[in-house]
């Protein structure tokens, strides 16, 4: 009973927040509503007792990705008027994509996997069952190759991103802390012996 109430609260919040992401004029507000949407879906996953996925969603998307996203959005001076100019022109194409998505999702949801008797109620796992452990074991045994390939792709992406940002040899005046630590008195200071001027 409590689970149902919590589900409906977070479900309503999720739908509301997702709508606001699209509707909001201010991109910062839209990004913050996206954070709320992530949060609510994490709560719904928690209800399904998928605690690892739920917390990973908060940790990765809310804690890291959206922070950087907000960072960029806050710095940019986005003019919504110029973005909205093409609204009428792109409307037919947008509608086409929307209907296509709707149909595909309808097909998926009405398939055998999502019939109501497959998800009749909130399933309760047995005591002491660790979601994280199970996921880790499956990932590192059954899906080891896929996991490794994903890791390799991510590594390539990181190397590419770094090399793109480092492509220009930048002239920076940032001091090297190593040099600063090893510097000696002789490098900075020169004592010149001079005779005192005599009295005239």
């Amino acid at each position: 009973m409590i689970e149902l109430i919590v589900f409906y609260i977070f479900g309503a919040l999720l739908l509301g927040a997702a709508t606001m992401v699209v509707v909001m004029r201010n991109p910062v507000h839209a990004a913050l509503f996206l954070v709320l949407a992530f949060f609510c879906s994490a709560a719904i996953w928690l209800l399904l007792q998928a605690e690892f996925l739920a917390i990973a969603l908060v940790l990765v998307y809310v804690g890291a990705v959206m922070v950087l996203f907000l960072f960029v959005v806050m710095m940019l001076d986005i003019n919504m008027v110029t973005i909205r100019e093409g609204f009428a022109r792109y409307l037919p194409f947008g509608l086409f994509v929307a209907i296509l998505m709707f149909l595909v999702m309808g097909l998926v949801v009405s398939s055998d996997y999502f019939l109501s008797d497959a998800f009749s109620t909130f399933s309760h796992v047995r005591e002491g069952y660790s979601n994280t452990q199970h996921l880790g074991q499956t990932l590192y045994t059954e899906y080891l190759y896929q996991f490794e390939i994903a890791g390799a792709i991510l590594l390539v992406a990181i190397v590419a991103a770094i090399s793109l940002s480092m492509s220009k040899a930048k002239v920076t005046k940032a001091p090297n802390p190593g040099d600063q630590v090893t510097v000696k008195k002789q490098d900075r200071l020169r004592i010149v012996k001079m005779d005192a001027e005599g009295k005239e």
Binding site: L32, I55, T132
Partner: protein, 376 residues
């Protein structure tokens, strides 16, 4: 403690739930009320600690700098070394007007302090105080902690942006970059703890450290221990990493436009975060509620009726260990000058993260090889 809880449960909660909820919701209603009571039992001491932590800070830094610190405000005409100071401060801040700048985004401006305080209080749900006393004994406790500490940055970012002020925005951006950098090192340090303990449950992590002082994880995970605590100082935006506030450069950073209670919620969040980092360091690296005399004295002494309650494992050891870390926070602030910004970034990305990755490999090797006395 147990007796008081049972008494309240039977005399107050059960009749109340019988009155308030319909018969088919009785069990759920009782559970909700019991949980609320437990939450209050945890959060009231935490907030009390936060209030007196500010007093301790002013006193300790005063002594370090050869001053006296607050010594005027007492109770009923007695000065009592200034013990009434936090209460006077709280009254002052509550009574003050909250000024919302005309160019500010009102909703976000008000939400920001709440967003910054909430995660630091919510994280206490999984903190184990004893082998039985924990609010939510969940399997993914460590992940939960990690997720919640990563949310603390939102309060700062939202406050900086909603204030519509250049200083506030500069502070918010500095803080966001810093927290993102140190969060990775912190996460890797926690992965090391996870590998060593073989569990994400904080209670199991403490139990994995039982044996003696040298079984605690501070020894096999020494670099991770230091990195975790230093990253914790950076995450809470405390000196010497307090560039987000940087009084001498950007006035007060992200909360420059805040006053009264709105400011004091930020203030409370900062101190609550410090207490949280301290208690987590104590749990993950200093054996939580375990007694340091374990392994020195025989088990029969530690579990005996009278002496055992003093020197045996218990809540008081956790509190003592937490206080040590809390003192470190103040000591650091009184000792070190503020870091230069580029050096903060260098320390986080180029020093801490490589060290944690290397030590992760070392710890994994130790665990696989079953090196005594920790992993046999």
């Amino acid at each position: 403690m147990e007796a008081i809880y049972q008494f309240i449960n039977q005399q107050l909660l059960m009749p109340m739930s019988a009155m308030m909820f319909p018969a088919d919701l009785q069990a759920e209603g009782l559970y909700l009320m019991q949980t609320s009571l437990k939450v209050m039992a945890i959060l009231s001491p935490v907030l009390f600690t936060v209030a007196y932590f500010t007093y301790a800070e002013r006193k300790i830094i005063g002594f370090i700098q050869g001053r006296i610190g607050p010594n005027r405000v007492g109770f009923f005409g007695f000065k009592l070394w200034g013990l009434g100071q936090p209460i006077a401060d709280a009254v002052k801040l509550i009574v003050k007007e909250i000024v919302i700048p005309s160019g500010a985004n009102k909703t976000l401006f008000v939400i920001a302090p709440i967003v910054s305080l909430a995660p630091s209080l919510a994280a206490w749900a999984v903190v184990p105080f004893d082998d039985t006393k924990v609010l939510a004994d969940i399997n993914a406790g460590l992940l939960y902690i990690l997720a919640l500490t990563s949310l603390a940055v939102y309060g700062v970012i939202i406050a900086g942006w909603a204030s519509n002020s250049k200083y506030a925005f500069l502070g918010a951006i500095r803080s966001a970059a810093q927290i993102v950098a140190y969060e990775i090192a912190m996460g890797f340090a926690l992965v090391g703890v996870l590998v060593a303990a073989g569990s994400l449950n904080l209670g199991d992590i403490v139990m994995a450290q039982s044996g003696s002082v040298f079984h605690w994880f501070w020894l096999p995970l020494l670099p991770l221990f230091l990195i975790y605590f230093i990253s914790g100082v950076a995450e809470t935006n405390r000196a010497p990493f307090d560039v987000a506030e940087g009084e001498s450069e950007i006035v007060a950073g992200f909360h420059v436009e805040y006053g009264g209670m709105a400011f004091s919620v930020f203030f409370m969040a900062e101190y609550a975060n410090m207490v949280l980092i301290s208690v987590l360091s104590a749990i993950m690296f200093l054996g939580g509620w375990l007694s340091p005399l374990q392994g020195i004295l025989p088990e029969s002494v530690l579990s005996s009726e009278v002496i055992g309650s003093l020197i045996g494992p218990g809540l008081h050891w956790l509190l003592i260990k937490t206080s040590i870390f809390m003192f470190f926070f103040l000591w650091l602030r009184a000792t070190f000058p503020r870091y230069r910004y580029d050096q903060i970034m260098r320390l986080g990305w180029k020093v801490f993260i490589p060290i944690t990755i290397v030590w992760l490999v070392v710890v994994s090797a130790l665990v696989v090889a079953g090196v005594p006395p920790w992993f046999d």
